[in-house]
Each structure stands twice: as structure tokens, then as C-alpha cells.
């Protein structure tokens, strides 16, 4: 019933640490690429959402 016993039975567990680090890195790089490739007008439009007047042409 001890908690660690459940996990002890997973084989080759060290791969998990590496694996999760990899998942993260790939995810993050993907997001970086997306952010820089995203359309400029779109970004500007989104950034104005909090403002009452969120149409850039009226600013």
C-alpha cells in the first residue's frame, strides 16, 4: 500500500524525466516559431481587445 510501491514497478523510469523535458522543449520552440510568424495585423488587433475602442483604425 505504500505509495512508492506503485511507481517502483514502472520499468526504465529515467527515460521519463528526459522525455518530459523533450516534450516541453519542442512545445516551447513551436510556440516561439508561431509567435514570430503570426500575422502582424492580427497581433495588433488582439492586443487592442482590452481597450474600449478596439478598432486600430480609430485610435
Amino acid at each position: 500500500m505504500k505509495f512508492i510501491n506503485y511507481l517502483e514497478s514502472i520499468a526504465g523510469v529515467s527515460i521519463y524525466g528526459l522525455g518530459s523535458l523533450l516534450i516541453f522543449s519542442v512545445l516551447f520552440l513551436g510556440i516561439l516559431v508561431w509567435t514570430f510568424k503570426a500575422d502582424k495585423k492580427l497581433i495588433e488587433e488582439i492586443s487592442r481587445i482590452p481597450l474600449d475602442n478596439n478598432n486600430p483604425t480609430h485610435s
Binding site: 511507481l7 521519463y16 508561431w34 509567435t35 503570426a38 500575422d39 495585423k41 482590452p50 481597450l51
Partner: protein, 707 residues
């Protein structure tokens, strides 16, 4: 396209705003109280609920979960509706959320004051409240996601990402860290023991700072700063990177709370690396905030809201610069266990969370009451008093932490420790006094704000439902610029976020798996035995009274600590500690090897009146331990619970445990009697002495200890 009419719910926002102010004042008052009790121990009143060890969890919980918690909900309920151009999903859920959270706060305060605690910092609440938190959190989640799904704005503004991340991660942290085995209606034992418990706890603790005190408030910053300055954020791209980098790195940083402890080295190093990297996104965020105001500094001078936001963001920058520094092992060696950490935390709490909350309140209340702020001048006064308060709080604490830590480490030429522990305490008392003055100023400022906002409300008339109109979402989202693969993401924001966070959750849990697994992480030491029933009861009293808020039980492998406290702590010594009690602050000396250091009679006198044994001590006295009887009716259940958790008591021991307990208690009674100290053997003080006398003894003089 048909324009739809609807209204924003201001009522829930108003209630959360009131709760924020109320609990803020309560939390600060309790904080001020214990700040004074630190140099004036009679303020502990010799009464259990008002002693430091119980008040300190009340203070931290009130400030984090009641003040900042309600502040988050206030800001989220206001901004989410406007960012989604939709009313909150369900008025009923909003109501349940509000009242549920307040009930949790009330029961938290009551149970903590009466000594019902799990003994894990920032997660002290007992299991029924943990369950209630989970339920209310789910209600909040449904309400939030429901609103996002019925939004009239196709894009999700970055603030909403921060809110979603907060929701998902806090849910995960809370559930994982709260694994506990109930023993009775208000008592449970952590499922994990020792090193593992510590790792889970600080993975939780650190991420609670990250995802309760930071990400939701960053969401608020990204909404209210542009609002108040009436201009978009400096770089929206940077805000996206800020978001993802934070989520990505924070999850790994927890082990920096456990440097030089018995935690395995690889976990410590991972924690350090990620903590240091965190400085990049944090400062990106801070600069993004400050640059938003470029060319508008004249406005900052005029507008109290902006002043508060500027100081808040600056404090965010300071705290997130300091955090990575504190993760460096050499800095940590000095700062950990000292008042330095208290200073660090309060730059965050008073500066970042407090000032941002004040700024948002000053902005929201006049608008919801359709009027102007009653007095800009008073708000300006609040701003200055608050700022000076922060400075008077933080600088003396940095000074105290640094000085005391240096004193701990000094040796004479003959190689003896230069200072007694208590000397290092009395030396920094003036700093404690100054800290409480800073706190008083800060609290005064908050009271001025409450008055100012009260006058504002009295002058205005509340708009419970704010009319708004917007077109519903088109079935086909218009293409912006050239067709791009991000359109797929655009159309499925919720799915994308959910999937990303599943990845985050997996990552966080996997970080801990190896620690649970590799047996060699926790070398077993054959001489380490389970606690006797009396010691176990004593340990529960130790937990109940919050001794861990002032005492550590973790000797780090430094020359001075080994000289002062004895052989450094080994991972294998804690395998039966549910929960671990390593502590995080040494207001009093480390107790990991307290066993056998003094005779029973010393402890008996010391716990009754610490000043009698240690003149000048600031430890509270514990007279009620001499009157309360040990709750022996709970012994069998406790033993059984420990067996369930894997502690190797022999089969059927639960029923014999009380006999052993009485035997051992009688031994202590007799030893006290020989020193002419009278007590019945079934008093709580006897159990506590048994526990203190056991601490660290298992491997005393053991040469075979591993690692």
C-alpha cells in the same frame, strides 16, 4: 450581422472586491500581530490560538488564499466578461463560487486557530477543506470555461491564457499535494513521507507562488494596465512568450527550496538551472509592463491607479530577479532559513500582489459605481505610506537575515562557534521592531483605501448589470492577412490549451517520478525505527502547535551547522515522517538532533516558560500542554493509518499501542519526579518531551550511516 444586447455581471465582482478588502485587512492584522509577538512574546497570550505557531498559518493562508484569492476572482470576473464580450456563464455558479470560497476561508481560519493542520506549509488545511476547495475550484472552472465557450470575441486575449493556466495548474498542484490519509474528521497524515513529502510539498509550494500569486496577477496586469493607461500592451508577442516560458519553466523550479537538504543532487541541480532561466521571461514581462507606459509617464504622475501598477510591476521584477539569485547554491546557503526569505516574500506579497490589488480596486470601484474616485489625494497618501511601509519592512529583514546568517557561521580562532543561537536572535530584535513599523504603515495605507473607496461608493450608484452589445461570433472566422497554419489554432483555442496543459501536467508529475522510484535515492538506515506511540502523539502535538514555523529539522552539511547541531541529516532518517517537518525558517535552533541534548526536566521547564531556561528567548510558552490529556483514544487509529502508509509496526500492534504509550509516559513522569517536577503521566507535555528526546537519536554515533 445581428448585434446582440447583453449585460455584464458587476455584482459578483463587487462581492469579491469587498471580500478582498475585508480579508486583506484581517490577514495583515494577524501578520502585524505576530510580527510584534516576535519581539514581545507576551503577545502570544499564553493561549493556544494566539501563539505564533498557529497564527502564522492563519496569516499566510489569509493573505494568499483569502486576500489574493478573492483579488484574483474579482479581477477575473471583471476582465473575463469584457474580454469575451459575454456575461459570466452562470449567475448561480458565480454565487456558489463566491460563498463557497468565503466558507472555505472561514473554516480554514477556525480550524487553523484550533490547531487542525496538516503541518505542510501553505497547504495546512485538513482534508475536508481540501475537498471543499477542489469542488469550489471546479465550479470556478466550469464558470470560466463556460464563459469562454460562449464568447463573442473570436480571439483569446493573453490574460485569459494566464487565467486558464492558473486554473489547470492549481487544480493539479492541489490534488497531488493533498494526498493524505484521513485518521479522523479533522486529522490526516500525508501520503508521502520524508524526502518525498518534502519534494512534493515544495513542488507544490513553489508552484503555488507561481500559479496563484503570479500567473493570475500577470493576467490582471495584461488587462488592467492597458485599460488604465488606455493603450495596448507594449509588445503582445512578448506577452505570449512571457506566458509560455513561465509555464514551461516554473514547473521545474520547486527543488530550489530544498538545496543542501537530503534531496538527491540531480533534483537540486535541475531546480537551480530552471530557476535561473526563469529570470528571462519574468523580466521580459516586467519590461513589457513598464514599456507600455513609455511616453505616458506624465499620466503616471496624475493617476493613482498607474502609480500602484508601476510599483507592483517593479516589485515583480525585483522579486523575480532575487528568486533566481536565491536559487544559486552559494546564496542559498546564506539566505535559507533566515529572515532574508521573509523579505523576499514580502516584496512579492506587499509590492506585487498588494499594490496590484490596490490599483485594480481603485480602478474598478469608481467604474462599477458610475462615479469618480472620492479622493485622488488620499489615494496618493496611501501610495506613499504603502511604499514607505514596504521599504521599512523589507530592508531591515534583508539586514536581519544576512547578519544572523553570518553570525551563525562565525567561528572563534580556537575553532569554536562564536555565538550562541539565542545571541543571534537578540541581536536582530531591532530589525523586527522596524519590520512591524513598516507593516503598521502598510496596513494604515490599506485602511485609508477602504475609507476612500467607501466614500466613493456612497457617492455613486452601483451598476449591477452593465449593458453591452456585440455581434455574435461568425460561423466562419475571417482570414487575417495570408492564410496561415495558426488558423487551425485560432479556431480551436480551448482544445489547444487543454492539450497543452495536459502536457504540462504530465511534465510536472514526471519530474517527481524518479524520486519516488529509485530506491537508492533514499538509502535505508537500519537503525531508523518507527516512532513509539507516545512519540507519535508527541509529534502530532508538535505539528498541531506549529513548532515547524520556527524550528527546522534539517541539518545541512556545513561546518557551522554540524558543529552547532550535530551530524548532518540523511534522507534515510525521515522515512517514517508523515508529514515531513523540515521547516523553512530558523527562528529557533534546528531540532533535528534535539534528542538527548537536555534532560527531560529542561524541556519541562522550558516549554512552560522558555525565558526561565533561556533568558531573552522569544519562544512562546505552552502552559496548556500541562493540562490537556493525551488523546489516547486516537492511538489505535493513528497506528493503523501509519501501517497503511507502510510504516512497519507489527501486525495487531494498534491494540497494544496504548499500553506501550503508558509505560513510556510513566518513565518520563518518574524522571521528572526525580527532579521534583510533578506531572501526571497522561499529560500532553509528556508526549511532546518523548518526541523531542527521540529526535535524531536513531543514528547518533552511528558510523554506518550511508551517503
Amino acid at each position: 450581422m445581428q448585434i446582440e444586447q447583453f449585460s455584464y455581471d458587476n455584482k459578483t465582482v463587487k462581492w469579491f472586491a469587498f471580500a478582498t478588502m475585508l480579508w486583506g485587512i484581517v490577514g495583515m492584522l494577524v501578520g502585524l500581530w505576530i510580527a510584534i509577538a516576535m519581539y514581545y512574546p507576551p503577545l502570544n497570550l499564553g493561549f493556544a490560538p494566539t501563539t505564533f505557531g498557529r497564527m502564522r498559518p492563519v496569516h499566510t493562508n489569509a493573505v494568499i488564499f483569502a486576500f489574493v484569492g478573492n483579488g484574483i476572482f474579482m479581477g477575473v470576473y471583471y476582465s473575463l466578461q469584457r474580454l469575451c464580450k459575454a456575461r459570466m456563464f452562470s449567475d448561480l455558479l458565480s454565487k456558489i463560487h463566491f460563498w463557497g470560497w468565503q466558507l472555505i476561508i472561514l473554516s480554514a481560519a477556525l480550524t487553523l486557530w484550533t490547531g487542525h493542520t496538516t503541518g505542510k506549509e501553505y497547504a495546512e488545511l485538513e482534508w475536508p477543506i481540501d475537498i471543499a476547495i477542489t469542488l469550489v475550484w471546479v465550479v470556478f472552472g466550469i464558470n470560466m470555461f463556460g464563459t469562454i465557450l460562449k464568447r463573442r470575441e473570436s480571439h483569446l486575449y493573453v490574460a485569459i491564457w494566464f487565467y486558464i493556466a492558473t486554473w489547470v495548474t492549481v487544480a493539479m498542484l492541489h490534488i497531488v499535494n493533498s494526498f493524505e490519509l484521513p485518521v479522523s474528521i479533522l486529522k490526516s497524515y500525508s501520503w508521502y513521507a520524508g524526502v518525498q513529502d518534502a519534494l512534493v510539498q515544495w513542488w507544490y509550494g513553489h508552484n503555488a507562488v507561481a500559479f496563484f500569486l503570479t500567473t493570475p496577477y500577470l493576467g490582471l496586469m495584461y488587462y488592467f494596465l492597458p485599460k488604465a493607461a488606455n493603450r495596448p500592451v507594449y509588445s503582445y508577442r512578448l506577452s505570449i512568450i512571457h506566458f509560455w516560458a513561465l509555464i514551461f519553466m516554473y514547473i521545474w523550479a520547486g527543488p530550489h527550496h530544498l538545496l543542501y537538504t537530503a534531496l538527491p543532487d540531480w533534483a537540486q541541480s535541475l531546480g537551480v538551472v530552471f530557476s535561473v532561466m526563469l529570470i528571462a521571461p519574468s523580466w521580459g514581462g516586467m519590461l513589457n509592463g513598464l514599456f507600455t507606459l513609455r511616453g505616458a509617464w506624465d499620466k503616471v504622475r496624475e493617476e493613482p491607479v498607474l502609480k500602484f501598477l508601476v510599483v507592483a510591476i517593479t516589485c515583480y521584477g525585483m522579486a523575480t530577479f532575487e528568486g533566481p539569485m536565491l536559487s544559486l547554491k552559494s546564496v542559498n546557503a546564506i539566505a535559507h532559513f533566515s529572515d532574508w526569505i521573509i523579505a523576499h516574500v514580502h516584496v512579492g506579497a506587499l509590492g506585487w500582489n498588494g499594490f496590484l490589488t490596490f490599483g485594480v480596486l481603485y480602478w474598478l470601484i469608481p467604474r462599477m459605481y458610475n462615479t469618480q474616485l472620492y479622493s485622488k489625494k488620499l489615494a496618493g497618501t496611501h501610495f506613499w505610506i504603502g511604499t514607505i511601509g514596504i521599504i521599512l519592512y523589507a530592508i531591515p529583514m534583508y539586514w536581519a537575515g544576512f547578519t544572523q546568517s553570518m553570525m551563525w557561521k562565525q567561528f572563534t580562532e580556537e575553532g569554536q562557534l562564536k555565538f550562541q543561537f539565542l545571541e543571534t536572535v537578540t541581536h536582530i530584535i531591532p530589525m523586527y521592531v522596524s519590520r512591524s513599523i513598516g507593516g503598521t504603515l502598510y496596513l494604515t495605507g490599506a485602511l485609508i483605501m477602504v475609507y476612500n473607496l467607501y466614500k466613493t461608493m456612497a457617492a455613486g450608484s452601483f451598476v449591477a448589470n452593465e449593458e453591452a452589445e456585440a455581434a455574435p461570433l461568425p460561423k466562419v472566422i475571417p482570414v487575417h492577412g495570408k492564410e496561415h497554419w495558426h488558423r487551425w489554432v485560432e479556431k480551436r483555442p480551448v482544445q489547444m490549451l487543454v492539450f497543452s496543459f495536459i502536457a504540462v501536467a504530465i511534465g510536472g508529475i514526471l519530474e517527481m517520478v524518479p524520486t519516488f522510484l529509485i530506491k537508492s535515492n533514499i538509502p535505508t538506515i537500519s537503525s531508523v525505527k518507527p516512532y513509539t506511540p507516545l512519540e507519535l502523539q508527541g509529534r502530532d502535538i508538535y505539528v498541531r502547535e506549529g513548532c515547524y514555523t520556527c524550528h527546522s529539522q534539517m541539518i545541512r552539511p556545513f561546518r557551522d551547522e554540524v558543529a552547532r547541531y550535530g551530524e548532518y541529516s540523511k534522507a534515510g532518517e525521515f522515512v517514517y515522517d508523515h508529514p515531513f517537518q523540515w521547516g523553512s525558517k530558523r527562528t529557533g535552533p534546528d531540532l533535528a538532533r534535539e534528542g538527548g541534548k537536555y534532560p527531560d526536566s529542561w524541556h519541562f521547564n522550558h516549554m512552560m516558560d522558555p525565558q526561565s531556561m533561556s533568558p531573552g528567548s522569544i519562544m512562546p510558552s505552552y502552559p496548556w500542554l500541562y493540562e490537556n490529556n493525551i488523546d489516547t483514544s486516537s492511538t489505535p487509529a493513528k497506528i493503523r493509518a501509519m501501517q497503511t502508509l507502510g510504516v512497519p509496526y507489527e501486525e495487531g500492534y494498534a491494540n497494544k499501542a496504548n499500553a506501550d504509550l503508558m509505560n513510556q509516559a510513566n518513565g518520563i513522569r518518574v524522571s521528572l519526579k526525580m527532579e521534583k517536577l510533578e506531572t501526571a503521566k497522561d499529560k500532553e507535555i509528556v508526549a511532546l518531551i518523548a518526541y523531542l528526546q527521540r529526535l535524531g537519536k536513531d543514528i547518533k554515533g552511528e558510523q554506518t550511516a550511508q551517503k
